[in-house]
């Protein structure tokens, strides 16, 4: 059986089946009112979620800044995370809002190029954004762990070196966990986009 035989079967089949699938105007209008679930929209939703969750921490962090009976290093950490969140929100609005939708009006190759470039740009920014927070977050975690030990055992003393060592130990765990999450959510999409583009560009 040759390609033209398949073409004949296709045309026969379509002629039979399409007459059975008629959708009226009302149904079409109802569909247009639904929200899109394309790849870019999903990525944007995830980023929206990240930003909103980060923003929720701002009021308690500001509260920490203005407390008199709190150790100074807590205030430094709070200050760092307030700045970090604001920088994140700023870049989010500046960079991402202009690419909030999938660009479908061009040909397939252009759409794939556009989506791949934007997708990798967003993923890179997301990785950088997450990586910036890992080291201070892990160090702060070590300090808080130490505070807890001190609370249970007031005679216990921890050197700065011990805190640094514990930070060095836990930071890779946080780093690889975040990398795993990002790869799980976005890596497969990116690989598929690259593969499709390569296939189209191959001569």
């Amino acid at each position: 059986m040759e390609l033209d035989d398949l073409k004949y079967i296709w045309q026969q089949n379509q002629a039979l089946s399409i007459n059975q699938q008629v959708i009226d105007n009302e149904k079409v209008m109802e569909m247009t009112r639904q929200k899109s679930k394309d790849v870019m929209s999903k990525l944007r939703k995830n980023l929206d979620f990240d930003i909103w969750v980060s923003s929720l921490f701002i009021p308690p962090l500001i509260w920490v800044l203005f407390q008199k009976n709190i150790a100074t290093y807590h205030k430094y950490v709070a200050g760092f995370f307030i700045i970090y969140t604001f920088v994140g929100v700023f870049f989010y609005w500046k960079e991402f809002k202009s690419y909030k939708e999938l660009n479908l009006k061009n040909d397939l190759l252009s759409m794939l190029k556009f989506t791949e470039e934007n997708f990798s740009k967003r993923v890179k920014l997301l990785i950088i954004y997450n990586n910036i927070s890992i080291l201070p977050l892990m160090f702060y975690g070590s300090v808080m762990g130490n505070e807890f030990i001190n609370y249970r055992n007031p005679h216990h003393e921890t050197s700065l070196m011990a805190l640094i060592i514990s930070t060095i130990f836990v930071t890779p765990i946080g780093y690889f966990y975040m990398k795993f999450i990002i790869k799980k959510f976005y890596g497969e999409h990116l690989q598929k986009l690259k593969k499709l583009r390569a296939e189209l560009e191959q001569n």
């Binding site: 059986m1 398949l6 079967i9 045309q11 899109s36 999938l102 479908l104 190759l109 598929k192």
Partner: protein, 156 residues
């Protein structure tokens, strides 16, 4: 416009999705994207070309996994003994052979072969897919070979 050209949407959905619910989801997504993109339609190309472009872009960029395992075409004993003259078989069997063969093509090849089945010439296929006409010819030759191999394997 969508109502008039809904045949294109059904064809694209049928090509890229097997499960009826997945087909509906893809159909809806294409309708949403056509609705969004329509104000930017410049009428530089035919409306059907533009609809194919959007529909294929949506279908190919939609990476949601199918909700159920794709219903693979079961190869019955009759199907495995296809005679050289395919038109002696029933229409249903021919359609099964066609779906089985198409299912083994890549997403890109599916798009190109569908446009070919729809009587689009190389120029229009090149416009929709975004490659040169020469590249379309090369890909068509490969698809032709691939489909011939798939069908002949089933015949053995």
């Amino acid at each position: 416009m969508i109502k008039t050209h809904q045949g294109i949407l059904h064809k694209v959905c049928g090509m890229y999705r097997h499960d009826p619910d997945d087909k509906k989801d893809l159909f809806q997504e294409i309708v949403i994207q056509l609705w969004r993109a329509f104000p930017k339609f410049r009428q530089e190309s035919k409306i059907s070309t533009w609809i194919y472009q959007i529909a294929l872009n949506v279908a190919i960029s939609d990476f949601r996994k199918e909700s159920r395992r794709p219903k693979r075409v079961e190869l019955s004993e009759n199907l495995l003994n296809i005679s050289d003259n395919i038109y002696d078989n029933s229409t249903e069997e021919q359609i099964k052979i066609m779906h089985h063969a198409i299912a083994q093509l890549s997403e890109i090849e599916k798009a190109i072969v569908m446009l070919y089945f729809e009587e689009k010439d190389n120029e229009e296929i090149a416009e929709i897919v975004g490659i040169t006409q020469n590249n379309v010819r090369v890909k068509m030759t490969r698809i032709r070979e691939k489909l011939r191999t798939i069908v002949s394997k089933n015949n053995e």
